[in-house]
């Protein structure tokens, strides 16, 4: 397996707060990696560092390095980074009536020069990508009128047009119902490209990621397979709740369940006694 990304001693420290602390890991070609952890653990901040957003690695608060194909990421210009990374964000809406086609054309930008117009090849790429996400009929629909799951799929299709090697998704299943959560993650899994995503739902992460990174308070606590990372003792410490691990009888994936601790049970009892 060839290494695409190499993150070494990455830290991001602002006055009074450690956002990321001494993070080290590699990303190999074709891996689907999930970043998990409680709110404020640094998941989204890590994603921002990986793509050097707003040239943040040059900031004095950030130390360590991110190497893309053995070259420092700071040596790539914005266009080259866009050719390597495609980003699907949490929230995307426009006040203007953009069509799906308009959104898809944005994906062409990193490969276009000034003044260029769309070629037949570009149009074919766009319909092919939409077909892969099952939305070939929606080319002329309004983006804002699609459901949340469809919007995510359009943005994933846009990432395909962008033809980047690494797909970055920030909470792709946020605001989606159960059906779309599975649909979007299944799609991401089938694309056969390198994927790095933050996921809130640990059981979804376990089902769809080969490898998980557990972050807590800016530190990388564990890096490994879902079975290793979702170890109950570790999760209990990070999330502050008792936890059990099991194997899902249908999918065969590792599943975790959290349950309320003693104090909460007492509260329940207290509430019941109030009801009397």
């Amino acid at each position: 397996m060839s290494t695409l990304l190499k993150i070494s001693s990455l830290s991001w420290i602002v006055p009074n707060k450690i956002i990321l602390h001494n993070i080290n890991f590699n990303v190999n070609k074709g891996e689907v990696i999930g970043i998990i952890g409680p709110n404020g653990a640094g998941k989204t901040s890590l994603l921002r560092c990986l793509t050097n957003q707003a040239n943040m690695l040059a900031s004095k608060n950030v130390s360590g390095s991110v190497q893309l194909k053995n070259r420092h990421i700071t040596q790539y210009n914005a266009k080259e980074i866009a050719q390597h990374f495609a980003l699907v964000m949490q929230k995307n809406d426009s006040i203007f009536a953009l069509s799906v086609q308009d959104v898809m054309k944005m994906g062409l930008l990193p490969h276009k020069t000034l003044f260029s117009i769309d070629s037949d090849h570009d149009k074919a790429q766009i319909s092919l990508a939409l077909k892969k996400v099952g939305l070939e009929h929606a080319l002329h629909n309004l983006f804002n009128q699609l459901s949340g799951g469809e919007q995510q799929r359009v943005l994933i299709a846009r990432a395909l047009v962008q033809a980047s090697q690494i797909l970055i998704l920030d909470e792709p299943t946020n605001h989606l119902d159960v059906y779309y959560q599975h649909q979007v993650l299944q799609l991401v899994n089938k694309l056969n490209i390198t994927v790095i995503m933050t996921v809130h739902d640990l059981n979804l992460a376990s089902l769809y990621c080969q490898r998980l990174l557990l972050l807590n308070q800016g530190e990388l606590i564990c890096d490994g397979s879902p079975k290793e990372v979702l170890a109950p003792k570790q999760l209990s410490q990070v999330f502050g709740l008792p936890c059990k691990q099991s194997i899902d009888t249908i999918t065969g994936a590792i599943q975790v369940s959290f349950y309320l601790n003693e104090i909460d049970t007492q509260n329940n009892y207290f509430l019941e006694s109030l009801g009397e």
Binding site: I81, F85, M89, S94, F96, L98, D102, M106, L108
Partner: protein, 328 residues
Amino acid sequence: MNKVSITLFVLAILVILSALTAITFGPADIDASQLLDCLVGTCQNQIANVVIWQVRIPRVLVALVAGMGLAIAGAILQNTTRNPLADPYLFGIVSGAGLGATIANISLADNLTVALPLAAFLGALFSVIIVVFIAKVLQRMEQLLLAGVAVSFMLASITQFILYFGEPFATNRVIFWLMGSLARVEMSNFYVIASVLIVAIVTVIALHRQIDALLLGDESAASLGVNVDKLRLLMLGICAALTATIVAYCGGIGFVGLMIPHIVRQLIGVTTLKLIIGSAFVGAIFLIWVDVIARSSLPHAEIPVGIITSALGSIFFLFIMYRTRAIT
């Protein structure tokens, strides 16, 4: 040809027809055959020839490029700030030009033909620089518009202060100038506005994909390799130069930049290339006809175009509000 190309083609023809028809309007009695003779250069009537070449054609041409310029400036600002209410006038450009014109009127009254446009231009650029500076200090580009409104009121109050204590004739001149008029334009004004317009259009066409990428948010644009702040500043600079040049010669003509892109979005689409070309055509048609109304609706008098565009604009605004209410 697809629907968009056909619409643009029809609009382009309408621009040419509007310009030709507009030349026939005016107080001097010139019939169609005389007009045609004068246009091809075989004119027998010297007076008609002078009226057409030195009064009507410059006026129609300036209306054409000014309409294009104001509409394009509005369209660029709306797409780069993702705010459908953005308008060059909200960025304090007219108040700045008004202040410049006031100072020129009070202090340089002898040489106004050069001094007034120049001072208005400098005043407009000055106000944009202040607005951008404030937004930079606040580090929030979303507040560019609010900063613009604040700066606009501040500069307007300085202008009014000067006018209140100024000489009544100078005050009158400034007030009429602020109402906007194409009555005193010359061919040279057309060349200046057209040059700035061409630079603006070429730049926007070159960068149209970058501007489109902004439509789904700054983060999305940045992930596609766009330097968001730089692009937005460049576009604001272009709009400022364009509007300042037009305001300098024609005075305050409001609402064109707000209204025209709105119509074009419904008609053609929201992405930058279509929007800019469509706005240029519709803006040109609009201002040519508003100017025809301005100079021919009252006998022996002209209505300042700014009054008509503002009246139409405010009605249009209420109409939009009514329509969106009906939909939601």
